[in-house]
């Protein structure tokens, strides 16, 4: 699927750089020992702005649940309708979510609760983005 390109900004540059290197990183607060996603300039739990760093994840998770998008507001994706959008819970912390189109999984045949593994796909401008495939082993 042809996702929109991504223009990294100051806040998210490390996340996108890591994706281009085939690594999944998530913000981590060393003050309260919590992950947070989406990224922010301060810890949303303890408020610290000085203890945030990027931590590499295993790239494994579980499908929480999903919806099937039939009426997409994003122009570039409309040609691919309908498509799955699943919510992925990371192994390191199930409270941390990522979205996925679940490439390789038929529309509306998403195995809720299944194990998934991160992959990296290029967007319209070449920037890579974390995506997820059903299965527990990297491909």
């Amino acid at each position: 699927m042809a996702k929109q390109g991504v223009v990294p900004d100051a806040l998210t540059q490390p996340f996108w750089d890591a994706a281009n290197e085939g690594r999944l990183v998530i913000q981590h607060c060393h003050a309260c020992h919590r992950l947070q996603h989406p990224p922010a300039s301060t810890c949303q739990h303890c408020g610290s702005g000085d203890h945030l760093a990027w931590k590499e994840m295993s790239g494994r998770g579980t499908i929480y649940n999903y919806g099937v998008v039939y009426d997409c507001p994003v122009r570039l994706l409309q040609q691919d309708q309908p498509f799955n959008v699943a919510v992925i819970m990371l192994d390191e912390d199930p409270g941390i979510q990522m979205y996925s189109h679940l490439p390789g999984t038929p529309v509306d045949a998403v195995p809720v609760g299944a194990r998934v593994t991160v992959i990296f796909e290029a967007t319209a401008n070449g920037q890579k983005v974390p995506e997820w495939r059903v299965g527990s082993e990297p491909r």
């Binding site: 991504v6 998210t12 947070q36 649940n65 997409c72 507001p73 959008v85 941390i96 979510q97 319209a124």
Partner: protein, 440 residues
């Protein structure tokens, strides 16, 4: 008169605050609505500013006060339903010049400042207090209730208005671009429509409790039926068509399991209420409806979208806060008018309230029973956004009118209207009000 943004101290966001200090000391008396339209037709007399003035004047007349008695105004300056004035599009000067403009030519067309209202309602000669209530009427009500209770204003207009222009909903701007910024991309690259998050919560709800989407059909039909009895609403005015179970089940998907009728239709409309003190209300034309409490949710999801667990925890907390501050229990509710735009979260609100003893996972079974305005367990007698179009205020108007006994053909008959609750929008992040026919 510089409009203020409400301070955080006015919101009742936590448990343990006890009875609301102004319980029964604020009354809603007057109600005024504009007509509705699907989209603006470009005429001065139907712009969002003109319809706001119309709604305000109707509320004043309904309450039976003279305009110079009004000393407060609470409104939301943002009026978009998701439609924005495209950059570079010429400003319609015939519309601008039909009114007393402010420095922003789109004021009264694609937004609404307090300054624009006051300049174009010269009869409001005594406005001393102006405050914004952002996002929806639910928020403006909380702000106005607290202001009247605290004596910052004694006769206050509360306004919420919506504009809608040509074009598909939310399909312009960044969504039409080939690339987006990195922060937005974290959540927006996957192309989810507005109802997606609720759809996922509903999918998880069905998985957890063994329910199905078609169990929503009685709620949808009931909402449209009630909406068609709301003469101020969009469907009653423009498309007086019932919505059957078959219609609902055949509707196209938007973000499955949310279909077209699980989403509310964006419209243009304005509504205004007149709030005052019980003492002043005695001399007004309509029966006062008292506010027993307001409560707000300021919870945020841990990550991208709220989980079912987060939703259930927050709606239950909202219910406890509402009852604590009002000094009531769930058993005291005559009816409920919680928010429904999107339909698939209305049951979260109901279950959080424990409406009619309901527990988590039971609302869809409850929908299979008599939830009509003639039965003992009315659900959304206003019809909500689904019954009358996206305004986020039909629920409040209906609470006021039901408790005043002037809801017309929509008047509930299976239960005596004494205490009701309304509010929203979302289970996480909303403002809620307890209304009563008596002050205590």
């Amino acid at each position: 008169m510089t409009p203020q943004h409400p301070p955080a101290s006015i919101y009742r966001t936590t448990e343990g605050l006890g009875l609301w200090e102004h319980r029964g000391k604020v009354a809603a008396v007057g109600v005024g609505h504009s007509p509705t339209a699907r989209r603006w037709d470009g005429k001065p007399e139907t712009c969002v500013g003109a319809w706001s003035i119309l709604a305000l004047r109707r509320a004043i007349a309904d309450a039976g006060v003279s305009p110079d008695q009004i000393d407060g105004l609470v409104l939301d300056p943002v009026t978009t339903t998701g439609a924005y004035w495209a950059a570079g599009d010429p400003v319609p000067l015939d519309v601008v010049n039909a009114f007393q403009p402010t420095s922003d030519p789109l004021d009264g067309i694609a937004k609404l400042s307090a300054e624009w209202i006051v300049q174009n309602m010269p009869e409001l000669t005594n406005i001393q207090f102006v405050m914004y209530g952002p996002r929806c009427m639910s928020h403006a009500i909380v702000v106005a209730a607290q202001a009247v209770g605290a004596g910052l204003t004694h006769t206050c207009l509360v306004l919420k208005s919506w504009h809608n222009f040509e074009g598909r909903y939310y399909q312009g701007g960044a969504n039409a671009q080939d690339a987006i910024d990195g922060t937005s991309a974290i959540s927006r690259l996957w192309g989810t429509p507005a109802s997606y998050g609720t759809a996922v919560q509903f999918a998880e709800y069905c998985r957890k409790y063994g329910k199905t989407h078609d169990m929503m059909a009685p709620f949808i039909s009931n909402s449209r039926r009630n909406g068609l009895l709301f003469p101020e609403g969009y469907w009653a005015q423009h498309r007086p068509e019932p919505l059957t179970t078959e219609d609902y089940l055949a509707a196209r998907w938007i973000a499955k399991p949310a279909n077209l009728f699980d989403n509310d239709i964006p419209i243009m409309v304005s509504a205004a209420y007149l709030f005052t003190t019980p003492e002043r209300a005695r001399d007004m034309r309509q029966k006062p409806v008292y506010i027993l409490n307001h409560a707000s949710s300021r919870a945020a999801p841990r990550s991208l979208t709220p989980t079912l667990d987060e939703v259930e925890a927050e709606t239950a907390k909202t219910g406890r806060k509402l009852y604590e501050g009002a000094g009531i229990t769930a058993a005291d509710l005559s009816f409920e008018n919680m928010y429904d735009g999107f339909t698939l979260f209305h049951q979260f609100h109901l279950e959080g309230l424990g409406y009619r003893g309901m527990k988590f996972g039971e609302a869809l079974d409850f929908y299979q029973t008599d939830i009509s305005i003639t039965g003992p367990n009315p659900v959304s007698p206003s019809g909500g956004n689904i019954g009358s179009g996206r305004s986020r205020f039909w629920m409040h108007t209906d609470c006021i009118q039901q408790l005043q006994g002037r809801a017309g053909a929509r008047q509930i008959t299976g239960v005596k209207p004494e205490i009701a609750v309304s509010g929203g929008p979302m289970p996480l992040g909303g403002n809620f009000t307890v209304w009563s026919a008596t002050p205590a």
